[in-house]
Amino acid sequence: MAEKTLAGKTVEVNDEGYLLNRDDWDKDLAAEMAKEDGIELTDKHYEVLEYLREKEAAGESLTIRKVGKSGITDIKGLYQLFPGGPLKLSSKYAGIAKPASCV
């Protein structure tokens, strides 16, 4: 656990950089987090982030397949938006917990 200053705001993050409190989130903060990974957020990115926040708030479990069916983009598109780890990265920028796959 650590504190971090992002877009002029001091927030608490875990050791992987995920926000501990989803209410700390705003768009500028997301942009700065993404920038650290070399990703420039576009409107499409934000649409995905808002979708994830909405679904998480509703208590739904998040999967790549689900986002792929959201109508915002398909799975291929999601990989292009968030190269390397579509769900890992998008949930980080969305200020929510890293989706734990159930074992």
Binding site: T63, K66, I75, K76, L78, G84, S101, V103
Partner: protein, 411 residues
Amino acid sequence: MKKLVILGAGTAGTMMANKLRGALDREEWSITIVDQFKTHYYQPGFLFIPFGIYNSHDVIKPKSDFIPTGVNMIYSAIDRVEAESNKVHLEGGKILNYDYLIIATGTKTFPDETPGLQDKLWHKEIFDFYTIEGACALQRFFKGWEGGKLVMAITELPYKCPVAPLEFVFLADAYFTQIGIRDKVDISYVTPMPGAFTKPVATKMLSELLAEKNITVIPDFYIERVDNDSKKLISYDEREVEFDVLTVVPVNMGDEMIERSGLGDDMNFVPTDKETLQSKKHENIFVLGDASNIPTSKAGSVAHFAAEILFENLMSAIEGRPLHAKFDGHANCYIETGFGKGALIDFNYDTEPLPGTFPLPGLGPFGLLENTKINHYGKVMFRWIYWHILLKGKELPVEPLMTMAGKKKVN
């Protein structure tokens, strides 16, 4: 007469029919259970078929052997549930009314969700072992196979029995060693997860075991399609894995009946309260086993533990009392690791698998997160326990809720 209807006579539905018939007054309650098939499959046994350890006759029995007298068994496909009016429509038009409904229709594999999977190589060089047909086809194939690249791949999460594909590669390692061609077989394990397993302590133990057995793990690989001509798996981020023989866990989803009933999420699993096991939408519907969306393993052991909680809560609901029993997601899985050994994990919603002994603290006899001979016997005995105790709804000497007794905390 009040009516209780159970959909699905697999592991979960059969257990519930047995528990409830003993508890509900026969003059007052009718119990009906519906399933499309007459055969009960011991699914954990499918794992052993490809290696000739079991054959199909070891894993099948008539469903009717396990349905108690006083329960009305109907063999029919279920078309849909009309929850607003408490009705179940069977294929062919028959209608069942209910006061309470238990959904236990499980999960099944949908190979057609992955392009190229169910194509010209299907059950020739591409197999699943989650169906009896796939497991038997793979047994025939292995008998004549002389070696090459064997790839075990998981297409999507969640899938039932999360340890089964790991057990598959462990058993494959042992099998090819025993028939003397292990040096000609290259085994890899392709998963969309970041590692062999998701929970850190178990992942470490299992990764070490995989490395020891010379099995390559290819993590974070999310399969987009299978190319049958070049025999390659292709991921969404355009990585490729070549295979000579591919064994796959296809996409797992709930039955289409759930979708037709408008009762499921995007994977046809029924949104269920993870503590009370009541449907989130309908108070008189409960969900048991793989059909629910509760965040724990889809496994027979989970259905067994959850059945005790569901039973308590259903009785409370019938008597108009609050639902006081709370499920903790308890799962207990034996992991076959080959060469007559096995590992065991025990965990729940909040506690990851930890080392220690089970079920008796300090005594065991089973070792948690340890690779031992006695754990293998646990798995062997599980088949007997399944047919004779589990399905009949009898109690095992293990508590439904997980206990920390016997577990060691790990930092």
